[in-house]
């Protein structure tokens, strides 16, 4: 019945040096309340800018009510789609009324005089968002919540049929956030206004939205009702951490919470790991393993390597070789000693060359002695050894039971699942 308000067809878009959206397709129907969620850098803001023709797609098309947004006249586009920014920044001392008046600027000619109709719309928008009392105050002096209501009033004065909000409410206090949300819900129900909320707050998005769009690395990872999208396995993969989803017993809405208690921060480590890293490939993993309560040793690394610095900072025992030198016999033997103490051996996304191939050979020896070995995927792309010796050895190890991993979350799940017997 209701038509499509916003349609993305296989949209690829980004900036001159960087592609951010990669083949995104979805449609938002008129009157829907949709939330766009996803981790930082997943492309949510770029998607919003693409919808508003601020970023032009490299491939694919974006349509507003069936019209290509890039060919729409600016004023017509503004009457279809309004955007509430994260924070409205008015460096000059504009009054609230003057700010809201800007909502009508697109529909005026260059010699724009406001008609009585324009004044009506401005006043109505201010009444709806409860900022009429503030109209003669300076915008810059208002509280964050009041400023956000003024920004919403300005966008409402545009009379758009879709409103997109870019993280506009997540940073507000809970009372101000609920005020703004209530206004949005009323607009959605009473005036069939289509709303697209870009949000970090999964619980909040679940409670107000008909539908969630989950972005991950520039693609749409999921599109569906909140209970279809908010699945622990999916969220765990996308956010790369352990999350729990449960029903709030009071409101019946979905709640997403992290699992801080589950981490063992002290005491003797249950699982001791030895990490083969180098060139910065281990920094994040060291930190994560220590946080998750694993025992960590590492080596052989070259001195001055950023991983060696990181290990030192985290007090992780490390076997070190001279800077820019191949791993020698003495260091290799020390590393063997460390591996003998470990329950699992992890190979990061480290490149292999003739200098550090011995690290992989140590891992191979450990695998033969029954140690669990985890190799980061794509080793063949990082193999600089002669005759691809590292790749062939890794393939051989995989055939003999070495496990592969890609994201840290996946690795940690696997480490915890297979407790050593």
């Amino acid at each position: 019945m209701a038509g499509e308000a916003l349609t993305f067809r296989d949209v690829t878009a980004g900036y001159s040096h960087r592609r951010v959206l990669d083949g995104v397709s979805f449609a938002v129907r008129e009157g829907e309340f949709v939330s766009l969620i996803g981790p930082n850098g997943s492309g949510k803001s770029t998607l919003l800018k693409t919808a508003a023709a601020l970023v032009k797609p490299v491939a694919g098309s974006v349509e507003l009510f069936g019209q290509d947004v890039c060919t729409l006249r600016p004023s017509l586009r503004a009457s279809l789609l309004g955007v509430v920014p994260q924070k409205l920044d008015a460096p000059m001392a504009f009054s609230v009324a003057e700010i809201v008046m800007n909502g009508r600027v697109g529909s005026m000619g260059l010699l724009g005089r406001l008609s009585p109709h324009d004044h009506d719309l401005v006043e109505r928008a201010m009444i709806y968002t409860d900022v009429l009392d503030l109209r003669n105050r300076y915008f810059g002096e208002l509280s964050g919540g009041e400023q956000q209501r003024v920004a919403l009033a300005m966008v409402l004065a545009q009379e758009p049929r879709i409103i997109m909000l870019d993280e506009s409410i997540s940073h507000l206090d809970i009372n101000h956030r609920n005020e703004v949300l209530q206004i949005l819900l009323n607009l959605n129900r009473e005036q069939q206004l289509t709303i697209v909320l870009v949000s970090h707050d999964l619980t909040l998005s679940a409670s107000v939205s008909d539908r969630l769009l989950l972005m991950y690395e520039g693609r749409l990872a999921a599109d569906g009702a909140p209970h279809e999208v908010l699945r622990p396995d999916l969220l765990g993969r996308v956010y790369d951490c352990e999350l729990q989803v449960r029903l709030d017993p009071f409101t019946g809405s979905l709640q997403v919470t992290g699992n801080l208690e589950g981490r063992k921060m002290s005491g003797s480590p249950a699982i001791r790991t030895h990490v083969v890293a180098g060139g910065g490939s281990g920094i994040e993993l060291y930190r994560r393993l220590v946080l998750e309560g694993f025992g960590v040793t590492t080596g052989v690394l070259n001195q001055l390597d950023s991983d060696a610095e990181a290990a030192r900072a985290l007090s992780i025992p490390a076997v070190l070789e001279q800077p820019f030198s191949a791993v020698g016999q003495e260091a290799a033997d020390k590393a063997r000693g460390m591996v003998a103490e470990a329950d699992a051996l992890i190979i990061t996304h480290v490149p292999f060359g003739s200098g550090n191939l011995v690290n992989l050979q140590i891992a191979d020896e450990a695998l033969r002695q029954g140690l669990r070995v985890f190799i980061a995927r794509g080793l063949e792309d990082r193999d600089y050894t002669e005759y691809k010796a590292a790749s062939r050895l890794a393939a051989d190890m995989t055939a003999r039971g070495a496990l592969s991993w890609q994201t840290m979350h996946e690795l940690i799940m696997k480490l915890q699942q297979q407790q050593p017997t």
Binding site: A53, S79, G82, V83, P85, A93, N102, G103, G106
Partner: protein, 320 residues
């Protein structure tokens, strides 16, 4: 605002009564009295045009860059216009046609602005930040000044007289055809800027926000830059390098009457014009018969006066 508007004609008449030949209405029965009045009137027009152009230009630059420091001098526009004007005066081209001096100044100012923009965009892969624009502007401005100095120091005696006369920044009346040409260009600049006032209001909220509200932001920015550059270049070609007006008058008018550009542009133009006329009246009477360059008076007399106003109303001037 009513008080300000009422004061304008009084101040203008007052400036007609002040001059090195004495205070009061000159004897209109004598040819010399007539000449004095017409000379004063001519200077009044020069002051109004130059002051209005400089301060309106400052208003537009400040809105487009969303920065209180923006003005024709800081962005290198005045420097570029000055360099173009110097070359054309030294080459004798300025006297060919009434439009040639302002047009050459405008073209070289636009070229300078493009150069500043290009320098500031280096390595950003797109839009330069306001800070890199201002930094690049200050640098280019300094280079232009050096080249002007070099040209002046190596000029022939004959050309030197003309260019020094112009560079001192005085409101010595130009020829009437040049005044006519300048008044036409200033009118285009003022009316054009005023037509853009609503989009300028929207652009103060940021380029992205203006885009979302249905404005062709790029077009408005380009038009605004061209108009502001036209105003600044015309002022420079008319009266030389007069500082301070383009920066401070917009701030004082904004602090007094609010940032809405529909009011801000005409009021700043009026305020800038009257301010410069008053400064000129002081410049030619303070130590008469010696005339002080008006640029000296704008900062010396205007500075403390405006500082007091801004201190009281700082919050209305610029919240950030």
């Amino acid at each position: 605002m009513v008080a300000f508007l009422a004061a304008v004609p009084l101040l203008l008449v007052l400036s007609l009564l002040l001059g090195p030949s004495g205070i009061g209405i000159p004897d209109l029965q004598t040819p010399s009295g007539n000449a004095i009045l017409s000379l004063r009137f001519s200077r009044l027009l020069m002051g109004l045009m130059t002051g209005a152009a400089l301060s309106a230009s400052g208003v537009v630059f400040q809105a487009l860059l969303r920065n209180p420091l923006a003005e024709p001098y800081v962005l290198g526009v005045s420097g570029g216009a000055g360099l173009g004007a110097t070359i054309s005066i030294l080459a004798g081209a300025s006297l060919a046609l009434p439009f040639s001096l302002p047009v050459i100044a405008f073209v070289s100012a636009v070229l300078t602005l493009i150069l500043v923009y290009a320098i500031a965009s280096q390595g950003t892969g797109g839009q330069p930040s306001v800070y890199s624009l201002i930094l690049a502007g200050v640098i280019v401005s300094a280079i232009c000044s050096s080249i002007i100095m070099f040209l002046v120091s190596s000029a022939s005696v004959e050309g030197l007289h003309n260019v020094i006369w112009w560079m001192l920044g005085s409101l010595q009346p130009a020829s009437s055809s040049q005044q006519l040409a300048a008044s036409l260009l200033v009118s285009i600049g003022l009316i054009g800027s005023w037509v853009l006032s609503r989009p300028l209001n929207a652009l103060v909220l940021g380029r992205d926000m203006a885009h979302y509200q249905g404005i062709n932001a790029r077009l408005i920015i380009v038009l605004g830059l061209l108009l502001a550059t036209l105003l600044a270049a015309t002022a420079v070609s008319l009266s030389g390098m007069i500082g301070f007006v383009g920066l401070i008058v917009p701030h004082v008018v904004r602090a007094s009457f609010g940032p809405d550009h529909r009011k801000l542009i005409p009021l700043s133009a009026l305020g800038g014009g009257v301010f410069l006329v008053m400064c000129d009246a002081l410049a030619r009477t303070l130590i008469a018969p010696v005339e002080i360059p008006v640029g000296v008076v704008t900062a010396l007399a205007g500075g403390p006066f405006f500082l007091i106003i801004l201190q009281k109303r700082m919050k209305q001037a610029w919240i950030s």
